[in-house]
């Protein structure tokens, strides 16, 4: 991002925050409609210990589930590319499972894996896994048929074609999938926590709503949002560092 566009981004954010603050203060909106930005920031500071602990739980669930999902997604895509016959049988099944919205699985996953951390990790892995599986598969399939034929005519095997042709072609798409999945992983962890958990940001949100502490809800969301952006930024930075050919 160039200097000017970054400056414009900051300007946009500042304008919106100012508008928010002015609306909340100007109309004297009650906290259950829209608390002021400064009120939310004060709440974050006031409850920093609890929020930090919750962010650790949610962050752990999201990152663990993300890692499992990413490995499973890329692994499954690789498997289906290398073993064509498997693809015919497994791909429709995977697509069918994927056509059910992730949130629809959450009640079932909670009943199966309990209210603890594991159900959140499973949900995140499910959501992240499918996102990355689909982008990896699309990436592997993106190669030009003529290039495949050409390499084959030089005697390259399935593995050779995979390493030299398919994987490099797929990397940008996999990387894009990895970046998109970061934000999803946190949202899915939080949504599942809201339906049932022993801790985490989603649980704080749920508790705060029942205990009528709306500023606290916004504070937890602010922390969650910051966490998502940090995760997104970290994966983006790793990608720039390691995918040197871009």
């Amino acid at each position: 991002m160039s200097g000017t566009s970054a400056a414009r981004g900051v300007l946009g954010a500042v304008l919106i925050l100012a508008l928010w603050e002015a609306t909340a203060r100007g109309f004297a909106l009650p906290a259950y409609t829209l608390p002021a930005v400064t009120q939310i920031l004060a709440a974050v500071w006031e409850h920093r210990a609890a929020l930090q602990a919750a962010a650790l739980v949610t962050g752990f669930e999201a990152v663990t589930g993300y890692a499992i999902g990413a490995l499973a997604g890329i692994g499954m895509a690789t498997l289906l590319v290398l073993a064509r016959p498997l693809r015919v049988g497994v791909l429709p099944l995977l697509l069918a499972i994927n056509s059910v919205p992730v949130v629809a699985w959450s009640p079932l996953v909670l009943l199966w894996f309990g209210v603890g951390v594991s159900s959140k990790i499973v949900m995140v892995a499910l959501a992240v896994g499918f996102t990355i599986f689909l982008s990896a598969l699309a990436g592997f399939d993106r190669v030009d048929r003529r290039s495949v034929d050409l390499m084959r005519s030089f005697g390259a095997g399935r593995m050779g074609i995979f390493w030299r042709l398919r994987l490099p072609a797929a990397l940008p798409l996999i990387a894009a999938g990895l970046r998109v999945a970061t934000v999803r992983s946190l949202i899915v962890a939080i949504v599942t926590e809201m339906l049932g958990a022993y801790g985490g940001l989603g649980w704080i949100i749920y508790q705060s709503v029942t205990l009528i502490d709306f500023v606290q809800v916004w504070a937890a969301i602010l922390v969650a949002s910051t966490l998502s952006l940090a995760f997104f930024g970290a994966v983006g930075a790793l990608e720039r560092r390691f995918i040197f050919w871009r």
Binding site: T23, V115, V209, T210, I212
Partner: protein, 335 residues
């Protein structure tokens, strides 16, 4: 699209439902927000609606179910809903403490609707046996009731493990936890199904002097002030519906299941029965349905204050208003 709602919300003015002519008679449009998903716990409201009692009382009522992460007090305070059947005395206290402009106009469940359940063959026979055990409960009020009960047995916070309970009683069924919290009408049914009634031991808060009335009818302060006769009309029609539902439980369940047909009928019939018992218990026996039992509410308030769930002493006379109920003759309020 829907600018009216948007403006109302951002302007923070309570949306007073407007009066619209409907045929010859004028009906006031109003909504009722329930505390949870449609189920037999709310049968009387559905009966009253389907039998036209609200219309006869001049109200064109829409019943909106609740859900996780929806707070009835919030929606009534903001004017999104006219009436609410909210969590209970506890959530009314919390709302009043945070200056949400709502008042309670009636109480549905006169007794604590939940109990603490252990296995009959397990090591827990008295409250003192809770020491060192794992308990799951709701961290929205029930946890303090249990703390209060256990304090009577000389136990304090560090003497046992207390975990939040959500979604499922399965951990108790699978013997992962020793004590589970159950509403008499809902979770207890599931427990009976999975473990068997005879294998369950219950600890009842009311037996230990802690009564915690729940399921409160709330309205905004503005509605209570400007349109008291609408509140009374709503209560009158509601009580009519409940009297019918209590007399004919099957019809009550029918009314609910016509709205939510996928519900399990035996479970709903059990719920109807148990919820009914809670409604006619205590002060309701002499003073009729939805009675606000002031000494009980005061005791619950003092209990919460003692446990620092609420930090400030509340003006209960302002928060609980019986005048709407008292405008209905006692004979019409009796179950």
């Amino acid at each position: 699209m829907n600018r009216r709602h948007l403006l109302a919300a951002t302007g923070a003015a309570a949306v007073t439902p407007f009066i619209r002519p409907a045929g010859a008679q004028t009906l006031t449009r109003a909504t009722l927000r329930l505390k949870w998903l449609t189920q037999a716990q709310f049968a009387g409201f559905y009966v009253a609606q389907q039998k036209g009692y609200y219309r006869e009382a001049g109200i064109d009522l829409t019943i909106n179910p609740g859900g996780p992460n929806l707070l009835t007090e919030n929606l009534v305070a903001s004017g999104a809903d006219t009436f609410g059947l909210s969590g209970g005395t506890d959530s009314v206290f919390a709302a009043r403490e945070r200056n949400l402009p709502i008042i309670c106009a009636g109480v549905m469940h006169q007794q604590t609707p939940f109990v603490f359940v252990t296995r009959a063959d397990g090591p827990i026979r008295t409250l003192a046996d809770f020491r060192g055990k794992t308990i799951t409960t709701w961290f929205t009020g029930a946890n303090f009731v249990l703390l209060g009960m256990l304090a009577q047995a000389g136990l304090s916070r560090g003497d046992f493990t207390m975990q939040p309970q959500q979604v499922s009683v399965q951990p108790f069924v699978d013997r992962q936890v020793d004590v589970v919290t159950a509403t008499r009408y809902n979770e207890f049914f599931t427990l009976m199904q999975r473990v068997g009634r005879d294998n369950l031991r219950t600890f009842v808060p009311d037996d230990h002097g802690i009564t915690f009335p729940r399921d409160t009818v709330i309205v905004s302060e503005q509605t209570a002030r400007d349109r008291p006769q609408t509140v009374t009309a709503f209560l009158r029609a509601t009580i009519r519906g409940w009297r019918d539902a209590l007399r004919d439980g099957k019809a009550g369940v029918d009314a609910v299941m016509s709205v939510a047909p996928t519900l399990n009928r035996p479970h709903q019939e059990f719920m109807m029965e148990e919820a009914g018992k809670l409604m006619v218990a205590g002060g309701a026996a002499q003073n009729g349905l939805f009675w606000i039992d002031r000494p009980v509410v005061q005791a619950a308030h003092d209990f919460f204050l003692r446990h620092e769930v609420i930090k400030t002493r509340l003006d209960l006379a302002a928060a609980y208003n019986s005048s709407f109920l008292e405008a209905i003759p006692l004979a019409d309020r009796m179950a």
